[in-house]
Symmetry: C3
Subunit: 461 residues, 3 copies
């Protein structure tokens, strides 16, 4: 007899327990930062002759935050409504796991990125980072879309957010890697984590729900809402947490051109791979976004519009080809059932982005960056938080960088970027494996093979 899919106790219990834990931990650990605390802000402002309320970081980060927020909730949410009878779950579960993940991410990232006297300080930058981490979970959601219960998704989010924060800490704080737009930390990590989870959850009889695993006319239009919002706001996504000034400005612009070039490649190859030359909505909805993924690391560097367009064009191309030729093989040979094709939108373009970032960093020079090169590439280990592993890792760094002399070294920088990709892949695959095994337990009310991709199982329809 099939496992019950009734959520009446499971889902409320899990949600309430999680929220209570979150509230207790927030009450214990979280404090306003200097820009959100009334007393601290007033004191800082009064002690500075030139500082005024207009300089609060809110005014320089919040518009970017809102664009990112739209991508997370509308972008990812509607992108996945393409299935004919899974729109409620796509938008709804996206909503649920994002609302949970951003709270949990605040804690995990705060814990790893630097406690202040044992407290986590929050403000608009931590909100952007929490949304970023959430994005990674939503990417993984794309791989298992239609085949998981909301309880499974929440459990996945618990583990994925935690591992995301660990991986991000290793890359940014220990290796000193650059990854402002998250080609590695968000896209590569989220994609390979999700692919491994869906591999472990492999369903040999999924074709029993095959007739529901496709789109209808209007569901494809809803999905285009998601696509277009992701596309439009990707420049904000990649630039949201770069340094102020030229890097933020440049990142937005590089992403803009990369996406434009990617879109032309997507239309070109979508028509080319079809015998009748007809365009495929799956490609337009997804591959056109690969250009944003692929400049997630190098976008803040002096990649130039020219370089961005080349990268975007490549990303769109490999993404369409992936949908056409690779996805069927992954499913038939490797037993990876990737509902949204996240390997094509986030996996391969994320790896491409990591490689481009590594090369661009290795080619950096003061002739191009001026005296700000140290500012753009802070290679040295950040020492504002004590971490027991530092001694070992510092020794590791010496292999690559002139840490002791503090001299900037582009080649070692490029090397660290490359190692960051390898670590990310390892963390994602290992984490996905463990998480997948946990999610395989028959206690979460997962849908039977005959009822996948169907809203009616978990929703009043």
């Amino acid at each position: 007899m099939a496992e019950s899919t009734n959520m009446r106790l499971r889902l409320p219990l899990l949600c309430i327990i999680l929220e209570v834990i979150l509230i207790v931990l927030f009450g214990t650990l979280v404090e306003y930062n200097d820009d959100t605390d009334a007393k601290l802000w007033n004191e800082n402002r009064n002690h500075s002759a030139t500082r005024n309320d207009h300089e609060n970081e809110f005014y320089y980060r919040y518009p970017s935050f809102q664009d990112v927020h739209v991508m997370i909730f509308v972008g990812f949410g509607f992108l996945m409504t393409f299935l004919q009878r899974y729109g409620f779950s796509s938008v709804g579960f996206n909503f649920l796991i994002a609302a949970f993940s951003l709270q949990w991410a605040t804690l995990m990232q705060g814990f790893f990125h630097g406690l202040h006297h044992g407290k986590i300080h929050v403000g608009v930058t931590s909100m952007i980072n929490a949304d970023f981490c959430t994005g990674s979970v939503l990417i993984s959601f794309g791989a298992v879309l239609g085949k998981t219960s909301p309880v499974q998704l929440l459990v996945m989010a618990i583990f994925e957010v935690t591992l995301f924060a660990v991986n991000e800490f290793i890359l940014l704080s220990i290796f000193g890697a650059n990854d402002a737009g998250g080609s590695m930390t968000i896209h590569t990590f989220g994609a390979y984590f999700g692919l491994m989870v869906t591999r472990v959850l492999y369903r040999p009889n999924l074709d029993k729900s095959k007739h529901r695993n496709s789109s209808v006319y209007h569901s494809d239009l809803f999905a285009m809402i998601g696509t277009i919002y992701l596309w439009m706001f990707w420049p904000s996504f990649n630039s949201a947490i770069t340094n102020y000034g030229d890097p933020q400005h440049r990142t937005a612009m590089n992403t803009y051109y990369s996406l434009a070039a990617c879109t032309l490649a997507t239309f070109a190859f979508s028509a080319l791979v079809n015998p009748e030359g007809k365009l495929d909505m799956v490609h337009i909805q997804n591959a056109a976004l690969a250009g944003g993924v692929a400049v997630g690391t190098a976008g803040e560097m002096m990649l130039t519009a020219f370089g961005s367009m080349i990268v975007g064009f490549l990303a769109g191309t490999i993404s369409v080809l992936g949908y056409k030729y690779l996805t069927p093989v992954l499913e038939s040979k490797l037993k990876i059932q990737d509902t949204c094709g996240i390997h094509n939108l986030h996996g391969m373009p994320g790896v491409l982005g990591a490689v481009v970032g590594s090369v661009t960093a290795a080619l950096a020079s003061p002739e191009v960056y001026g005296h700000g090169i140290d500012f753009h590439f802070p290679t040295l280990v950040r020492t504002d938080t004590y971490v027991p592993l530092y001694p070992i890792l510092l020794r590791l760094q010496r292999v690559f960088a002139d840490v002791e002399t503090g001299k900037w070294n582009p080649q070692s920088k490029g090397g660290f970027q490359a190692i960051s990709l390898a670590v990310t892949l390892g963390m994602a695959l290992f984490g996905g494996l463990i998480t997948g095994l946990i999610l395989k337990l028959p206690i979460y009310g997962a849908p039977p093979d005959t009822q996948c991709f169907e809203d009616g199982l978990y929703w009043e329809v």
Copy 2:
């Protein structure tokens, strides 16, 4: 014989007369303010050594304004498209009455909030306030959705906007209450005004249109567009007109966490109250937003993320329970036909927000707010406009606050917040009663009982 619902003369006449009146009043009364007038801005800038064009308030308020604007037109508009055959009217009438209300609100709010030598000064802050007032009208629209003609809605807007401005004036200018996000002025007022209107317009035979008073699959997806936009931009809504600096930053963040916690509560209780544990789209679309309403007053205070999450969780819980258990009772016992369930989304959470605001204000202390406490809680009566009632009201204030010594007094502040709630409820219920009686006249082309919730009555379909 039923009243004619033909709008051919009624609607054009009303629209044109209203717009002509608006244009005449704007021509007579409205002027650019210091930040929008070419001459004034140039003079002010030239006389100040440090002031430059970058300090125009446009750069610090306009992004918030646009987010609020999206909530008013896309958020409210699409939220109400959940009905199967009322999408044109939901988005369309929302559009019409919002476009009227924001103009009328500019005049009413300008009149009450301070004339400058007999003129109303306008700029981005007045635009935000006008949109806020419009939001209140759209909340009331939710109660009568499907049962009113566009002419009725415009007439309702005329009265509601006027009373809104009076109530807002009493709360903010006379009581010196804090209510940046409008838990009281916008949500409580709009909800109880609308509930009273729909009570007066009670239709005993509304079940003749029962088959249309429900959603279909795609109409629920359109409604989710509204939900998600409201949810995402609520941090901007609550923070749009707070003071610059830490209050604005903090308000946005408190709202962010309140909404996240509210969403988990909504999913939890939606599954819990359903015998099969299935989620209900009505709850997700509405109750998940209650967390934004409930921190509308206290959001700018030092509520902390922790406090915000508790409030949000409570708001989501009472909202879902309201939809499940209270709405049917309100309809059967009190004859309140509340189409969108605004009592659950705006009414109860608004009252909760007022109470939370009152308590948080009463608990405020210089230890928490630093020397900025006077700035955050400007208790004293604002004297920039002359109001005949001041002598009486000043005497009233003395009961609560140390007005004469100018000493800040948190308890009296909390008291004023509580009185503000009572006044708002009174104004809303009384205003709704009068307006409802006016709308009951058989001259507006209201739909017959058999034709409610039907676009075909007023639209070419």
Copy 3:
């Protein structure tokens, strides 16, 4: 036998060739500007005592850019989804030609608006300008919607972007005209260009596809997404590239009031022209936007809210009347098949906007603008780029302006604004004629008369 509509070779070839050309030209010609280049920004910042990263133009232009970006991709894209079976093409081809046009526009506008030592400098302002130019192409797309292949649309974009840049150069750089919101350069140009193209492509047997040239219920709701986004963000559109400070603030506010008044006029006249007094979705979707078009030139001037509302009300009125009475005549008498009715939304309101701009400029005085009048109306020829035509044009200017004395002259200014309209109309009609003739060649895979307004021709459905 009908021409093949198979896109398998045509579309990929054209896309790839165009993108390769773009990449080569960007590699050769395009450089980061002072605010996006790492070295330049660092040097400029270090040499200035007061300049800091917060003053990067990114923070003052990027939020406006994103609003414009949403209008281009969501606004235009979804506005055109009203057709029952053309939603994929509406959003999809809009996406494709916009992604191409913004790249091509960067080059064309950069070329005409001032090379720096032979290089085009790019930043957020050039991104906004490129999106603006793209908007013009999308307006023309509205006229030929449903009757053209994607290859035709790309070819149209090549020519239209080029001519747009020439016309914009003549108006802004030579005539010194003001047109921040593009009543002339964007709307009038795009509309009459598109109308001429569709005239040349006249299909006498288009009624064979008549049954598809209409909306269904949900397609009209998708279109309203486009409408509402255009309406909400039009204040950002008109103000995106004005000067900083009061002009940007004022422009946004004038547009806000113009649109509000326009909306009431639209509802009034839509009901009035229908025998049963029923509202028509076509009017609401389109005419309500005419108020944004009509203040595209004068919005930055001291038009006042009062003046803006009069202009908006007029624009809505003529637009609805145009849909009702003029469009059928244009089709039957002038053989202009204007699918979206761009003549009513962009054509007539654009001309109205040009006239209003001309009059408002002629009425300008230092009493109203203060000492900033030279700043608001830079009449003199900009001499930062060498242009062979200058000697002739300077002589032309002397007819109107006191160029030699440098004295500001409002009447000559108004005259130049009027001439700008005439030049724009000439350029648009001539350009549309040539482009139309080129598009008539039977090599682009245009749809047969029986298959217009049908996604299935170019999309996997």
